[in-house]
Amino acid sequence: MTHLEKIESQSVYILREAHHHFRNLAMLWSIGKDSTVMLWLARKAFFGHVPFPLVHIDTDFKIPEMIRYRDKLALDWKLNMITGRNEQALQEGRTFPAGKLTRVECCKTLKTDALVNTLSGKWPRYRMDHATGKYVPDTNKEPYTGVIVGARADEEGSRSKERYFSPRDKESNWEVGDQPPELWNQFKTDFAPGTHIRVHPLLDWTELDIWEYIEKEKIPVVPLYFDQGKGERYRSLGCYPCTFPVKSTAKNVKEIIEELKTGKFRNIAERSGRAQDKEDGGGLETLRREGYM
């Protein structure tokens, strides 16, 4: 077996376990390359079908190309597409772009809060109507008790402590110090009422694995990842006010792989184009504890 075959098999195994154990299961799809690979792995696991909804948190500041791409794939692949957002904050202009919040506060408001409340069903969810391609209010308000997330262990220190199945308490908090044991592919699939479990099928993948798999499987990704002739491209996607392209002339997946293997990005962290990470020392760690992906 090749390395890619091995990690693919493990991810598929995890997705199938999640599907069996959680009746209210959802997959977070950020539209980025990682969660798109994860979505592809779900199609692998379930032979072309995706038997759970995909949840996307819309901050209203996503690069428009990302939303177009999301809706196109949702239609083509017949996905049960759900979106949620912090409507109140957006209406009141409580955001970083509006000058009212810092970057980290804005992430918490538009992403974490929206995510937590969309997952719990407290705030409205919108579901894509495949007949029209438009989003309509979703009638299902049950909390998702299993949430599949595309975190990778190589992304940053704190994630390398994760489990494939990681419990979160009622407030979506993560008890880093007291995680359940995980051995021999037996995962924590039972949980107390009110709590939920985060499932991480991509924990063993590296950024390079992701791109090599995209190349091998010919998975469609947002063109923002490629240089469109301006000598820059996005390495990691987010909201436009806080995500900046990196200098690179990689025009396709092959060139990105080459660049990662040999080029200048070899030893530079992937999220270096994300402004909110730099704002305070443990910013991302704090966000995670509070429930951000």
Partner: protein, 591 residues
């Protein structure tokens, strides 16, 4: 390759890992300097551990609380180093880390010598089936790089490893802090002829190819997705050992159902006619048989797994409360899950001393040899034959609390009945409506809830109230199966005599089985049911769906009861407890 680093707390694991990363140039640019600067700013001496401890609260506690995974590369290959915590409180984290590894480095402080966790970790490595172990005698700088110190530790630890049946690949003297004997042989250790740490890592072998062993595929699920007129009924799982080809005759255990492989399915991949160990796959069958999740698919012509409800095992316990004789637990072997109880403790090894002790329970961090009684049969291999189907975990309520390996199968005397049930299933004329479709429609999985207890204990009131609640509140398709109704109807040809009791129980089981097949939650009561009758009912209704609730004094000797109720608690509370159990079992929706 996955390598785990274990050892007693403060013996230098993090330093070893940090130093390996630094000296092989595997750190992100500027990272080392950033941590050094941070230490200077806070006036703390620099530690390699800080490099790894990316988490805030960890740094304040100063101990590795969880397994951290770091990536690094030698000239030969890529590694994932798993830095497992040495502190006793975090044993479950150490186990989680070590369970993923193909080889291990066990670190011992030359100055402090062998400590409690040096032994405990050695023991766990051997139980986890990690055969490639190198012992690193660290902090040689503290003992003047003296050979006597190294030799003494080596001698003492070898004796211990021999006892637990573990043959180490090497003993390596080193100083992680000073980087001696890490990447290249050290001039300060002229008396040492063996490999440096990196050379040792490069000499570990990849895990042996298990494609040539007997075929095992634990069934993770049976998929029938109806969208897009997909008519395939796919049995999905990962091939844990062996290989499989289209046309092979297969048997599913413990149910014993047989069929033949029609196709091997895959999404967006070239068509294939065979599949080997390691791959997650799915197959369709020529002849439809109803397979349960947890069944193990095997090839008919190969050595088959054992099938029994009695197992002799060795396990280690990580639960906050001890494992005791009369509490029900869940046993998970590969994809199978059954209720289980601890039938007999044969030997407990006190973890700190690792000496046998006479104990009535298995405490936290203990290792024990014991006999487990499962509610119904499971299919399994012995650990030394096949690993993936030879090990298990024990779940206490909602937490994985123990793990272990299967040493031996014990006959449970139900083979004849099992054959009979297999025959029934093999010839069963199946409905075109799939069980999964019924589950979707009714919003719950089928179940047989049997309330047992002594004559005179009121079970019927609880049973009927349960039926009412299920039907009303949960909108369940449910039915109270009255034993009296059977006696005066279906069973009029059978005398109401003690000798005929067996036939009555058999008919009750078969009727319950029909209701399960129809997707219902059937509720029944039975007085003075004994151990043998209960396991027969389990066999007849074929596992997953049976839930045993005992009311009042528990008269069973070894049978597994899923829930014990006290009649004094009142019907309301008792019914609520049963409903919660049905949720825990994922029979009712979890919301």
């Amino acid at each position: 390759m996955n390598i785990v680093i274990v050892g007693h707390v403060d013996h230098g694991k993090s330093t070893l890992v940090g130093r390996l990363l630094a000296d092989t140039g595997s750190l992100p640019e500027g990272k080392l300097q950033q941590v050094r600067d941070e230490c200077q700013r806070t006036a703390k001496p620099f530690e390699y551990a800080f490099l790894l401890d990316a988490l805030k609260d960890e740094q304040s506690q100063g101990i590795t609380i969880d397994t951290a995974r770091v990536f690094f590369k030698s000239k030969k290959r890529e590694y994932i180093l798993i830095d497992a915590p040495g502190h006793i409180e975090f044993l479950k984290n150490m186990v989680s880390g070590a369970a993923r590894a193909e080889a291990a480095l066990l670190v011992i402080d030359a100055e402090e010598g062998i400590q409690e966790n040096s032994r405990r970790h050695g023991y766990l490595l051997s139980m986890l089936g990690i055969r490639q172990v190198a012992v690193c005698v660290n902090k040689m700088d503290r003992v003047g790089y003296k050979q006597e110190v190294f030799d003494r530790i080596q001698k003492e630890y070898r004796v211990f490893l021999k006892e637990i049946d573990l043959e180490p690949r090497a003993f390596i003297p080193l100083s992680a802090l000073e980087g001696e004997n890490l990447i290249t042989p050290s001039k300060k250790l002229p008396w040492y002829r063996g490999p440096a740490v990196l050379e040792m890592l490069d000499s570990f072998e990849k895990s042996p190819d298990i494609s040539a062993r007997p075929f095992r595929m634990p069934v993770q699920g049976i998929y029938k997705f109806t969208e897009d007129e997909d008519t395939r009924r796919i049995v999905a799982g990962r091939v844990e050992s062996g290989s499989l080809s289209v046309g092979d005759s297969v048997v599913f255990l413990p149910s014993g159902k047989r069929s033949q492989i029609k196709t091997i399915e895959a999404f967006s991949a070239p068509k294939r006619t065979s599949v080997t160990a390691g791959h997650s796959t799915g197959v369709t069958l020529t002849e439809q048989v109803y397979v349960n999740r947890g069944d193990v698919m095997c090839r008919v012509k190969e050595p088959l797994p054992g099938v029994s409800s009695l197992l002799r095992v060795k396990l280690f316990w990580m639960g906050k409360r001890p494992m005791v004789l009369d509490r029900p637990y869940k046993l998970k072997v590969a994809a199978a899950q059954v209720s289980v109880r601890l039938k007999k403790i044969e030997r407990v090894i006190d973890a700190s001393e690792l000496k046998p002790a006479a104990k009535k329970e298995i405490g936290r961090h203990d290792v024990a040899q014991c006999v487990l009684q499962a509610a119904s049969a499971v299919a399994f291999d012995l650990m030394h034959d096949l690993e993936a189907t030879g090990r298990f975990v024990i779940v206490d309520e909602v937490d994985i609390a123990g793990g272990g390996i299967i040493l031996e199968m014990i006959e449970d005397g139900h083979d004849a009945l099992r054959r009979q049930v297999t025959e029934r299933e093999q010839k069963w004329d199946f409905s075109v409506v799939e069980p999964e479709e019924r589950t979707k429609r009714y919003g719950h999985r089928p179940a047989f809830v049997l309330l047992t207890g002594k004559v005179g204990v009121d079970k019927k009131t609880i049973a009927k109230e349960l039926e009412k609640r299920l039907f009303g509140l949960h909108g369940a398709a449910t039915y109270f199966l009255g034993m009296g109704n059977l006696l005066r109807g279906l069973n009029t040809d059978v005398e109401q005599h003690r000798l005929e009791r067996h036939e009555h129980v058999r008919r009750m089981g078969e009727v319950a089985h029909l209701f399960l097949d129809a997707g219902l939650i059937v509720v029944a009561t039975g007085s003075n049911i004994n151990d043998a009758e209960l396991s027969e009912l389990h066999e007849m209704t074929s596992r997953e769906g049976m839930v045993v609730v005992n009311v009042g004094p528990n008269g069973f000797k070894s049978a597994v009861v899923d829930l014990n109720l006290d009649p004094v608690a009142g019907t309301e509370k008792n019914v609520r407890n049963i409903l919660q159990l049905l949720k825990d079992r994922k029979i009712l929706r979890d919301a």
